[in-house]
């Protein structure tokens, strides 16, 4: 099995690749609509601005093939912005459309706490999640974001709290999304990526 990493120009593609290679995975980077449609497993990393990701998906004609592949059952993992874009829209760029594969809108975290939410935080599992299999319940993951999906979207399997609760992990059939960066989250992150590889195999 090969993991197709959607490379829209975000900075964290090499570190995601490195993390997957350490686990023995075979990866390819792509921005080709054909390669997305034919992928065995898809991974969408993302850092930076929501608008940059959405515009890249549209300008490089990746939106339709991505939705088609996911509807066709291809295992998908979205990281950070890659989780946020699964929803209908984001308050970071309200005029742009997300992929609308999950219901709800991404909102800003409350300004009562320091933003970005930057650093290592713990999760509260809402229900059993194959992504968290074998990971201690008190494990920390690395976050770096100011916007987040509401926990009440119906697909949240783990919640995190920073000023307010938000979706840390979402899962719906073959769709997986994590708000944190598993590629930067030490051993717990590596284990989570390994779980995704196992699910996708």
């Amino acid at each position: 099995m090969k993991v197709t990493i959607i490379d829209y120009g975000a900075g964290n593609v090499p570190s995601v690749e490195r993390a997957l290679h350490r686990l023995g995975a075979v990866t390819q980077r792509t921005n080709s609509p054909d390669e997305i449609v034919n992928a065995e497993a898809l991974l969408l990393p993302g850092v930076g601005h929501y608008a940059a990701l959405v515009r890249a998906l549209d300008e490089q004609y990746m939106r339709e093939p991505l939705i088609a592949a996911i509807h066709g059952g291809v295992p998908f993992l979205g990281i950070c912005l890659g989780l946020q874009v699964l929803f209908e829209s984001s308050a970071e760029s309200p005029q742009l459309r997300g992929l609308s594969l999950l219901p709800g809108k991404v909102c800003a975290l409350p300004s009562t706490v320091k933003l970005p939410h930057m650093g290592w935080n713990q999760l509260l599992a809402n229900r059993e999640s194959p992504l968290l299999a074998g990971i201690p319940s008190n494990a920390y993951f690395y976050f770096a974001h100011s916007f987040a999906a509401p926990e009440s979207n119906g697909t949240t399997t783990a919640t995190c709290f920073h000023g307010a609760p938000f979706a840390a992990i979402v899962e719906n059939h073959n769709i997986y999304g994590v708000q944190f960066h598993p590629e930067k989250s030490g051993d717990s992150g590596a284990r989570l990526l390994q779980n995704f590889l196992r699910i996708a195999a």
């Binding site: 900075g11 970005p116 930057m118 290592w120 935080n121 770096a144």
Partner: protein, 254 residues
């Protein structure tokens, strides 16, 4: 369940080797950045910072190669900087594998540099490094490796830097740097209170108590140190266990 306080080792390099000095002067060799990075990654460091303190143009390719080799060792975030003057400089360190870019002197001279980097990489990737030195009743911003005063108030500059798009402040007390007399809690608390973004305290760390103090009284979100980690005087795991015992929330490695 809340955000853990971060412990961040810092590798000050001349581009290729880790160097060590007191009050920004009198440098000596302190080891191989790749070996140190690998050790800190295993010992439970929460992030790593790599700085090119020489920051000369002709040694830039060497520093970028150091970033690449260090990034390959890490499964934690990497911040890199030193001599970042343009958006293109920032792109080069991000492409080499840094998750965040730190800017200092060039941002004081041209604050739009912060906005340019923030627009391209997101605020979470832009760390404004401020070297502050007490001057009468306030703190002065120092530039060029802490040697020259920029004649700006550190608190005002921190606020302004955040408005330009910085997502984090790396605050070094020039008075404390290299002295091992403890972090400047007063300075850190003042900056932390003034800005909405996380603050990394730096300069003066030696004892585990210094870290307790900077988190509890200095309101720091993270604490950075260099030599006490490099020479093995303060293992990161022991430090974190000490902090946990003092009820400071930290991420204890498994």
């Amino acid at each position: 369940m809340s955000l853990a306080h971060r412990i961040i080792p810092c590798l000050d390099t001349d581009g290729a080797r880790v160097v060590k000095g007191v009050n920004f002067v009198g440098l000596r060799d302190a080891g191989d950045p790749v070996a140190l990075a690998s050790r800190y990654n295993k010992e439970g460091a929460d992030e790593l910072v790599v700085l090119d303190i020489a920051a000369s143009r002709d040694r830039r390719p060497t520093f970028l190669e150091t970033i690449r080799r260090v990034a390959a060792e890490l499964s934690i975030p990497l911040t890199a900087g030193g001599g970042i003057r343009t958006l293109e400089d920032g792109r080069a360190v991000v492409r080499a594998g840094a998750d965040k870019v730190t800017v200092n002197t060039a941002a004081v001279e041209r604050p739009k540099l912060i906005s340019e980097l923030s627009r391209e990489f997101g605020a979470q990737a832009v760390v404004l490094a401020i070297d502050a030195k007490r001057s009468g009743g306030h703190w002065d911003v120092m530039v060029r490796g802490g040697r020259e005063s920029a004649n700006r108030d550190a608190i005002e500059w921190a606020k302004s830097g955040v408005a330009f798009g910085a997502g984090e402040i790396l605050l070094t007390s020039v008075d404390r740097d290299g002295t091992q007399a403890g972090f400047d809690t007063e300075l850190t608390a003042a900056i932390s209170k003034a800005v909405s973004v996380p603050v990394i305290a730096s300069g003066g760390a030696k004892l585990p108590e210094h870290f307790v103090q900077i988190f509890k009284e200095g309101d720091a979100d993270a604490a950075l140190a260099a030599s006490i980690f490099h020479d093995g005087a303060q293992p990161i795991r022991t430090l974190k266990e000490f902090l946990a015992a003092k009820s400071v929330e930290v991420r204890l490695p498994c």
